[in-house]
Symmetry: C2
Subunit: 198 residues, 2 copies
């Protein structure tokens, strides 16, 4: 068998990007090599650097280059509140509303039995440990208002309530079926202020 | 100004991929770092390796890791024929038909004045030098049958005919297996005008 050329290796590798099939992987490789070698070099460097440096925060699970992220290290925050989000982007969206000054836990996903994503994949054990530290009093569930996000919120909510924690959910100011990433800050702010016990 | 984090640098770099905006660049970065670090490392390695090793063939302009590509080095090929294609993929498509045993020139693009792509960008000077080597007798224009591809073929054809070369173009017509009922009128019109004795 002939070994793969550097070009074939690059096309194969680019298929690891989500949503990129063989045709677009090849088109990307051709484009970079023909028209943007500087961009190709940037991607190569940034990728290797990220793999080497980026870890998950030991407290909130978001991406960080240190043991703990800046948010978790911020002593001005109200450590009695823990907001559970699906992704770092969702956390950013909430931060922009300036309606919440507590801490976070980032699931890095959502429960999705059909895709084989279970409690372990959203780090539920770590969330339980984090939420039952004796300091956290209220857990704000801010997963998306999609079917999977709602199911995830329900599952986490039941689990934490069974351990005596106060659990709230963003109010349904967020449109049903909507994803936080695409909702305007005002709507998210309203939902945060209207959060209620579940 | 705060310097960019490794994660931000990665998202920025991924935007150099064609068709990738800020949202999808971020989604790609998150996905790789959370769920496919091996894939991320593969992309980093493959990208750096490709930038270092891949050049353009000095004869036909396609991608190669040597001075000349395997096709150009193949002495079994008919050096009197030179087929002009837009991309390495187009060359591969023609190779698969087993109907052509000559050599190639890969433009790595097509004329597109609106996008600022002129004769220099499709390496016309090199094509002229290549086609007028005294050995090439026929230049087969196999650019796409899009408006830009047709304009490119026309421009190259006129340029090379002015230098005394024989220039042909792939035939247009009804696709093999095509039913007239489902073929557009323009294609049928072309096929009618180009009809030939059987
Ligand atoms: Zn953290
Ligand atoms: Zn070549």
């Amino acid at each position: 068998m002939k070994s793969l050329s550097s070009l074939e290796l690059l096309s194969e590798a680019l298929r690891r990007l989500p949503g990129v099939g063989p045709k677009s992987a090849q088109r990307m490789a051709y484009h970079l090599l023909q028209h943007d070698r500087e961009g190709a070099a940037m991607i190569g460097r940034a990728m290797n650097n990220a793999v080497e440096k980026i870890k998950n925060c030991i407290s909130c699970n978001t991406f960080t280059e240190n043991q703990q992220c800046e948010t978790c290290l911020d002593t001005e925050r109200d450590a009695s509140k823990l907001c559970v989000v699906e992704t770092p982007t969702d956390q950013l969206m909430i931060e922009q509303t300036l309606t919440y000054k507590g801490l976070y836990f980032v699931l890095m996903g959502r429960l999705s039995p059909l895709d084989g994503v279970g409690p372990k994949d959203i780090h539920l054990d770590r969330l339980i440990t984090r939420a039952t530290d004796g300091v956290v009093k209220e857990v704000v569930l801010a997963t998306n208002f999609t079917n999977e996000g709602e199911a995830t919120a329900h599952y986490i909510g039941e689990t934490l309530k069974a351990r005596g924690l106060g659990v709230t959910r963003l109010a349904r100011g967020v449109p049903v079926g909507g994803e936080l990433e695409y909702v305007d800050a005002g709507t998210i702010a309203r939902a945060m202020l209207d959060r209620r016990a579940t």
